[in-house]
Amino acid sequence: MKLDVRGEVCPYPMLKAVEAMKKLKGHEEVVVITDHAPCLETIPPQAPRFGYSYSVEQTGSPEWTIRLVPLGGER
């Protein structure tokens, strides 16, 4: 599932990422695209709470792709 939250500021990108992880329950990865740097510190800590791991890649200036990957497949 792809979440393009460019233009949104805190707390909406995190709220939407959390909502997506809750809905998908670890069955699908969530890809968050953001231009709001504070998300890099707010979204990753939420990942383990919902059984996800994360990786962050800078894909622009300023733009980042945060990949939330389910831990150990089906839960």
Partner: protein, 415 residues
């Protein structure tokens, strides 16, 4: 940065990212502006430099008082609030030394000059609730909106316009608030209270900060908040060049840890107070509101009682373009812009939904009204008030938390 400006500089700048060139240009312009300031009054330039440093620090550490309060309730996260407590500890130590030099014997009724010892009462609570609610609704407090405005967040410009409107409303109605509420409220300065003295006031303040800190750790543990593992360097930094590059990245590219931001801001407010006064940003915006209303023929009435109260709004009477409040408030903008450009984080960002603009404007107006009533915002009435050993800072902080809690209930319902 327009190509026209970089082109004449020729090959020397080839390969240098445009945002770096722009950052240097902003820095040079900001330093150049210090020259007329220094001619007018030396202190103006010193405060301007501190304003720039504060803006740079806010941007680099993404320091956000709104999220510090909001995330306590939204996610149970206290990452930034813990950093604020650290900054308060640093500032309290410095403020105590400065105040002690000015008023060595606190029992005789004199308050230290410029200390942010503000009235304690309904106006503090009402102001804190309005401000706390407004900052959550708009997504940033006044200082937060200032540095985000410089980073290119258009919604923050709208928030600031709202703040000026709210402050203007209080300017027009101030004498009613003064007669009804504020004039009857005491200013409680801990060193002069119950025989505490400086030692007792400091012990009490540090004990309260410690209790708050431990409470926040419990709060986070209860909510199951995870601390991020610290990433280790992928390879050892051996050469001088590696080390330099590493330092450059740590300072100018990566965001600073919140705790570093808190401690540095704590140090900056101490130096500001050494130069003249603790940090505050609503005084300058009140000046802007009053000047705008005056130019439209709707000058606010002379404010009763404010000259006897320290803090932000009380300084709104300064005239001329450059003032002490101008330096420490407007200085945030170029400081934050330089930080954003070096990190390549500057970008004009427009919210996609109209609802966000309404949130920014409404939240801004509420913040303006709240900071007008409380005579300061998260900076002047909180971050500079607790280190002034004033009870008002604690009460305002508690009211901010209450307002933020209510704000969280609202934004959960706004998609």
């Amino acid at each position: 940065m327009p190509a026209a400006l970089t082109a004449p500089l020729g090959g020397a700048l080839r390969g240098v990212p445009r945002q770096y060139v722009a950052a240097m240009a902003v820095l040079v312009a900001a330093v150049a502006l210090a020259v007329p300031m220094a001619r007018q009054e030396g202190i103006l330039a010193a405060l301007w430099a501190l304003g720039l440093a504060a803006g740079f620090t806010l941007q680099r550490s993404r320091f956000c008082f709104a999220s510090a309060f909001r995330d306590l309730f939204l996610f149970g996260s206290a990452r930034i609030m813990k950093a604020i407590l650290l900054g308060l500890g640093v500032a309290t130590t410095g403020f105590a030394a400065i105040m002690h030099a000015a008023v060595p014997f606190p029992g005789f009724g004199a308050l230290p000059p410029e200390a942010h010892v503000l009235p304690v009462g309904i106006s503090t609570v009402l102001g804190g609730l309005l401000f706390g609610y407004g900052m959550v609704l708009s997504g940033g407090c006044v200082s937060g909106s200032l540095y985000r405005a410089a980073e290119g967040y258009v919604a923050s410009w709208v928030s600031l316009a709202g703040v000026v409107v709210g402050l203007g409303f209080i300017s027009q109605t101030w004498n009613w608030w003064w007669a009804t509420l504020v004039s009857g409220e005491p200013k409680i300065w801990l060193p002069a209270t119950a025989g505490l003295g400086y030692a007792g006031a400091l012990a009490l303040t540090f004990a309260a900060l410690l209790v708050a800190f431990v409470f926040l750790i419990w709060w986070e543990a209860r909510a199951g908040v995870f601390a991020l593992p610290v990433a280790a360097a992928t390879r050892p930094l051996t050469s001088f060049r590696d080390q330099l590059a590493h330092m450059w990245h740590a300072v100018f590219m990566h965001g600073w840890p919140a705790a570093v931001g808190g401690a540095v801001l704590g140090g900056i407010v101490v130096v500001m107070y050494t130069v003249h006064m603790p940090w505050g940003v609503t005084g300058e915006l009140t000046r802007l509101a009053n000047a705008s209303m005056t130019s439209f023929g709707a000058a606010p009435p002379a404010a009763l009682g404010l000259s006897d109260i320290g803090g932000c709004a009380a300084r709104a009477g300064e005239t001329g373009l450059f003032s002490h409040t101008f330096s420490v408030t407007v200085g945030i903008l170029p400081g934050a812009l330089v930080g954003a450009l070096f990190a390549r984080e500057f970008k004009l960002r427009f919210p996609r939904s109209a609802v966000r603009y309404a949130q920014s404007l409404g939240g801004g107006v509420l913040m303006g009204a709240g900071s007008g009533l409380a005579i300061g915002c998260t900076i002047g009435a909180f971050f500079s008030a607790i280190p002034s050993l004033s009870i008002s800072g604690w009460l305002f902080g508690a009211a901010l938390a209450g307002g933020a809690y209510l704000g969280v209930q609202t934004i959960r319902r706004i998609p």
